[in-house]
């Protein structure tokens, strides 16, 4: 069993890589296309098998471990509790996305390139989950980031390229910040610290100030912001709302569901478990809270369902950021906060994936005929939406209550603030979800009219609907399988389904009511899903904060070196011309040189004679 697990551990990221390599040779490209959607299977298999094992004695202990001394700078791969749950929901999402994409892109002429980047990103994503040491994590994190660019710009339209450009610039800035942090950790440790014990001792040294570089706080901030770009923290989230609408639906589902979670996993791995980091936690808490609210406000004011979902992801990640902030500030909260974060992540991943796929599905529903199918889709979509909103009995409620339970342990002012904050957040999310359903309803014209034809309930639609349906059901039935997927340590008791029903139910009902009121007020059918006139004006442009930043960049007078180089060359040419003129004078002098032979003997011999005489006489 142990051998199989370690083989699977290696296979999770090497199998997708192998599939990607098939693309380089023309003949094998077809096989690559077939294999790509199922590339996540080894990962899922590993997660399920590992699940079956008896829960390890203490939380962090790795279930299975493989070290590859030769590879890179000595890569060791680890699968522990958090890893397993991340692996589980990520591989589920990637499988669903893969199947969906295979059908969705059946007629796309450039699907070869799509699946190339799809498998590369998959390899990166799974790899960073099972990475056991800092550099391996960074390796797979970089692979995922840069490969995802291929998915974002797949449509290769101008907006896609612009969004891709923003995405890659932000990604690189994130990489650089992350690397700066890693350098400091590496410098203190003097090499490549593995997660767990070695990392902790490094943080202890850093906190004590022995590290060769900036203090512990600065390093934590660097790491947090580096990973924050991926996780969409407020100032660094600009690429998210831009990337999702342009990316193919399956890609944006994976982007939102699985990839931004990598940021969260990064925080949990890299930031110290024992040594408290007060400054980093306050930053995380503040930005998290801000993100949660801002996400809702900006999301509501959008028309495109995918953008709404993007902003919803920003707000959800805000919650997770707050959770991490708490975890970092109060290490003693580790078991509770850890489990709460895990539940939240898994629940959000599944639910967000389902919502995105529904948008894709909506694209394929033909206009007018068969409203029946469209109602089907709307109905199905409301389930994960409600879960996301935190309706009791759904995975959302479980995750929120666990979070509250954990915070309860802590007590004190923060708890009271959170006591108020959480229902408010739930209300906001519900409103956002209502807005999403409205925009989904209006989704008359499909995103790309070319591929619009509604496929009969044949093989094509089947593979479209099946993954969507699987995710919806999983989302809805969260309460059942969620506790199993997360290895809950002994001392943490998950709240029962019935806990806090009333407190949970109220915000959802209020949100739904407000949504219904807005929906029913707008009489004429075509304005039905639109925003009320008052609010319509306050349109938040795509990529909100980016617009002012770009304006500033355009205004900055960047020095244009080419002009400077050309002026240099012009001066060079003039110099050479002057030199040639001087050379011409020299020519005339040289001509005299020969002519003077007749005259020279006259003067020069004697001058030399005289000079020689005088000097020698003196000498």
């Amino acid at each position: 069993m142990e051998g199989l697990l370690s083989v699977l551990l290696v296979l999770t990221w090497s199998f997708p890589l192998f599939v990607a390599l098939l693309w380089t040779s023309a003949r094998l490209r077809g096989a690559g296309l077939q294999l790509a959607p199922f590339a996540a299977l080894p990962g899922l298999l590993l997660a399920l098998l590992a699940g079956g094992l008896p829960a390890p004695p203490e939380v962090g202990a790795p279930m299975t471990e493989v070290t590859l001394p030769l590879l890179f700078t000595g890569v060791d791969l680890v699968l522990d509790g958090t890893g397993r749950s991340f692996l589980l929901f990520t591989s589920i999402l990637w499988l669903a996305g893969g199947l969906f994409a295979r059908a969705y892109h059946a007629t796309d002429v450039r699907r070869g390139r799509f699946f190339l980047f799809f498998s590369l990103t998959l390899a990166g994503n799974l790899g960073l989950i099972v990475a056991g040491d800092m550099l391996a994590f960074y390796l797979f994190f970089a692979l995922m980031t840069f490969a995802a660019y291929g998915l974002v710009v797949h449509a290769a339209s101008t907006e896609a390229l612009r969004a891709g450009k923003v995405y890659i610039v932000m990604a690189i800035v994130g990489e650089v910040l992350l690397l700066a942090g890693l350098f400091s950790l590496g410098g203190t440790f003097g090499g490549n610290p593995a997660f767990g014990a070695q990392l902790e001792s490094t943080w202890v040294d850093l906190a004590a100030g022995e590290g060769p570089t900036f203090g512990g706080a600065a390093v934590a901030l660097l790491l947090a912001s580096g990973l924050g770009v991926k996780a969409g923290l407020i100032p660094l989230h600009l690429w998210l709302p831009l990337a999702h609408p342009v990316a193919p639906t399956a890609a944006s589902a994976l982007l939102s569901g699985a990839m931004i979670k990598a940021g969260l996993l990064g925080w949990m791995r890299v930031l110290p478990a024992e040594t408290p980091l007060p400054e980093a936690s306050t930053v995380l808490l503040v930005t998290g809270a801000l993100a949660a609210l801002y996400g809702v406000v900006a999301g509501i004011l959008q028309d495109d369902p995918k953008t709404v979902l993007a902003y919803s992801s920003v707000s959800q990640m805000g919650y997770m950021a707050m959770g991490t902030g708490l975890l970092v500030a109060h290490p003693e909260l580790a078991p509770w906060a850890g489990v709460a974060l895990m539940l939240y992540a898994v629940h959000h991943g599944i639910a967000k994936g389902a919502l995105f796929l529904s948008v894709g599905l909506a694209d394929r529903v033909p206009r007018g005929d068969g409203d029946r199918a469209r109602w089907w889709i709307l109905g199905g979509t409301t389930l994960p939406a409600l879960a996301l909103a935190g309706l009791p009995l759904t995975s959302g409620a479980l995750a929120k209550n666990t979070l509250k339970e954990g915070l309860g342990e802590m007590g004190g002012t923060t708890y009271s603030v959170l006591e108020v904050y959480l229902p408010l957040a739930a209300l906001g999310t519900t409103l956002l979800m209502a807005r999403f359903l409205a925009t989904l309803w209006r989704r008359r014209e499909a995103a790309d009219p070319g591929t619009r034809a509604f496929l009969p309930f044949s093989y094509g639609t089947g593979t479209l609907v099946a993954p969507w349906a699987a995710l919806v059901l999983l989302g809805a039935g969260g309460m059942a399988w969620l506790p199993i997927s997360v290895d809950v340590p002994a001392n943490v008791a998950l709240p029962g389904p019935g806990a806090e029903v009333l407190v949970g139910l109220l915000p959802v009902l209020v949100g739904a009511a407000v949504g219904w009121v807005v929906w029913s007020r707008s009489r004429d059918p075509d304005r039905r899903g639109l925003l009320p006139e008052g609010l319509a004006g306050a349109r938040v442009p795509a990529g909100d904060l980016l617009v002012p930043v770009e304006a500033v960049l355009r205004w900055l007078p960047l020095p244009n070196q080419e002009e400077w180089v050309e002026s240099l060359e012009r001066r060079g040419r003039r110099g050479r011309a002057r030199m040639r003129l001087a050379a011409r004078q020299l020519d005339r002098l040289a001509a005299r040189d020969v002519e003077t032979v007749n005259g020279t003997l006259l003067g020069v011999i004697l001058v030399a004679l005289g000079a020689g005489l005088v000097l020698l006489l003196m000498g």
Binding site: V597, T600, G612, L613, G619
Partner: protein, 501 residues
């Protein structure tokens, strides 16, 4: 009868007899003369080299009489090295000239200028060769004068072998300058004889000449020899003469003939006069520096390949005179002035490398003009692609002049720089470096034309392989000397700067 007498006789009188044989005029006589001259000189110089290496300076009392009465042939490290270089260059140029003048048997000396040139090049060159060997071995002032005369007449005749008006004028001008130089030298000899009553250099150096009369005689002789060596102010006759002469002649003139009078100057200044005066040495160095700058700049401005090489001779001679001030870094004070070995060997290595490189460059240029009868820089590109070996020889020669490795020039420059830097002579350091860069500039100017793309396929006379090999042989000798020069180093230490103290 020790070996010395035999080898010195062979070195001086071998080529003399060979020239008489060559006077026969028929191709067989010419070939026999060249062969005899080369063999005797090579044997003589090799024999002397070994003798000097083992026993130090050797002497040969001609006519059995001692110093003041009779004349001696005297060989030390410096003379042996110059003998060897002249022998090597001479043999290569003799090989070259056999096929340069065309098929000797068919040429009729009376009608065609080439035939006439071929018939009289060989005896003149052999006379020149014996004169040079005579200079390197002579230890008597008047004997030096007579040998210089043979050198002057034969060299001027070599220039006028060329049929063009310009070469004739250049030859005449060269003869006049040479005769004036000899007369000034003779007047210097007269003054010395008046003062010290002896003509033997050894006795003169023993008498340590220093008075006003001795200084005047040194000045006269220096100006005389400077005229013949084409040192800077008196250089204007050289470029037209060396460029206008037929190729083997110009190779010899530039490579070895100018070295003869340079040798005499070094002998007089250091062996006889013990360094002359510090101001005098600096003056000679200054003239050398001016020669480097003026010669290089003018070489850059020339339009014909041979004129570039000729002006390069004027420049490179400057290097050898830069050796003068560096030889006595701490001045001439004190009983035995410490001569710096670095400058001595560096300077002579530069002279040797110049001889080898310049001969190979002129022969390469000769190959090109033999092939297309044109010598302009513009015509080079057409020929370069069809004479790769010649232009390889030219390139290697250029490297040696510029002092780029692997070449004797590089080692020589390294030693000169080492001496200049240890004595803090920043001016000389700058001159040596700038000189090297300027040399590269004009060599590059020629090579740039050679590497142009369009190869004009005008009428092209195939160049005999032997001529290309002769040029390449000397260039390779200069390059290999850059890798191994210890033997030259050791033999030059025998007798050193002031052999007779």
């Amino acid at each position: 009868m020790t070996g010395a007498e035999l080898w010195t006789t062979a070195a001086v009188f071998g080529p003399l007899l060979a020239s008489l044989v060559a006077l026969g005029g028929r191709p067989a006589a010419l070939k026999a003369g060249l062969l005899l001259g080369s063999v005797t000189t090579l044997a003589g110089s090799l024999g002397l080299w070994l003798q000097v290496l083992q026993h130090g300076p050797v002497r040969h009392l001609l006519g059995g009489w001692g110093a003041p009465l009779g004349i001696e042939l005297w060989a030390d490290g410096f003379s042996v090295v110059m003998l060897a270089v002249t022998a090597l260059v001479g043999a290569a140029v003799s090989l070259y000239s056999l096929s340069y003048f065309g098929d000797l048997s068919t040429l009729d000396a009376e009608t065609s200028p080439a035939g006439r040139a071929a018939r009289y090049f060989v005896p003149l060159w052999l006379l020149l060769w014996s004169a040079l060997n005579g200079i390197y071995l002579s230890a008597d002032l008047f004997n030096l004068y007579v040998t210089l005369e043979i050198l002057g007449l034969a060299a001027a005749a070599l220039v006028t072998l060329a049929v063009t008006p310009r070469a004739t004028v250049a030859g005449m001008r060269y003869l006049i300058v040479s005769l004036v130089g000899s007369m000034l030298f003779l007047l210097g000899v007269a003054l010395l004889y008046t003062e010290f009553g002896t003509l033997a250099l050894e006795e003169l150096s023993a008498a340590a000449p220093g008075g006003p009369m001795a200084a005047t005689s040194l000045a006269l002789m220096t100006v005389g020899m400077a005229a013949k060596t084409a040192l800077f102010p008196l250089h204007a006759w050289l470029p037209p003469a060396h460029a206008g002469a037929p190729a083997p002649a110009s190779a010899l003139l530039s490579a070895v003939v100018v070295k003869g009078s340079f040798f005499i100057l070094v002998r007089l200044w250091f062996a006889v006069y013990g360094g002359g005066s510090e101001a005098g040495l600096v003056l000679m160095g200054g003239l050398g520096a001016a020669a480097i700058l003026w010669g290089s700049v003018l070489a850059l401005r020339q339009r014909s390949l041979k004129r570039v090489i000729a002006y390069s001779t004027v420049a490179q001679l400057g290097y050898m005179f830069v050796m003068f001030p560096l030889l006595a870094p701490e001045g001439l004070g004190g009983p035995d002035p410490r001569w710096s070995d670095d400058a001595w060997i560096g300077g002579i290595l530069l002279a040797v490398s110049h001889a080898l490189a310049k001969a190979s460059m002129f022969m390469a240029a000769g190959n090109m003009s033999y092939a297309v009868a044109r010598d302009g820089l513009r015509d080079i590109s057409g020929v370069a692609h069809r004479l790769p070996m010649s232009f390889l020889a030219f390139g290697l020669g250029g490297l040696s002049l510029a002092g780029l490795p692997p070449s004797a020039g590089f080692v020589g420059k390294w030693l000169l720089l080492r001496e200049a830097l240890s004595a803090g002579g920043w001016f000389w350091v700058a001159i040596i470096t700038v000189g090297g860069l300027l040399t590269i500039a004009y060599v590059l100017k020629v090579l740039r034309h050679a590497l142009d793309r369009e190869a004009s396929d005008g009428d092209f006379r195939p160049v005999p392989r032997r001529m290309e090999w002769a040029a390449l042989l000397l260039a390779l000798a200069s390059a290999s000397l850059g890798v191994r020069a210890t033997e030259v180093f050791q033999v030059l230490l025998q007798g050193g700067v002031q052999p007779w103290t």
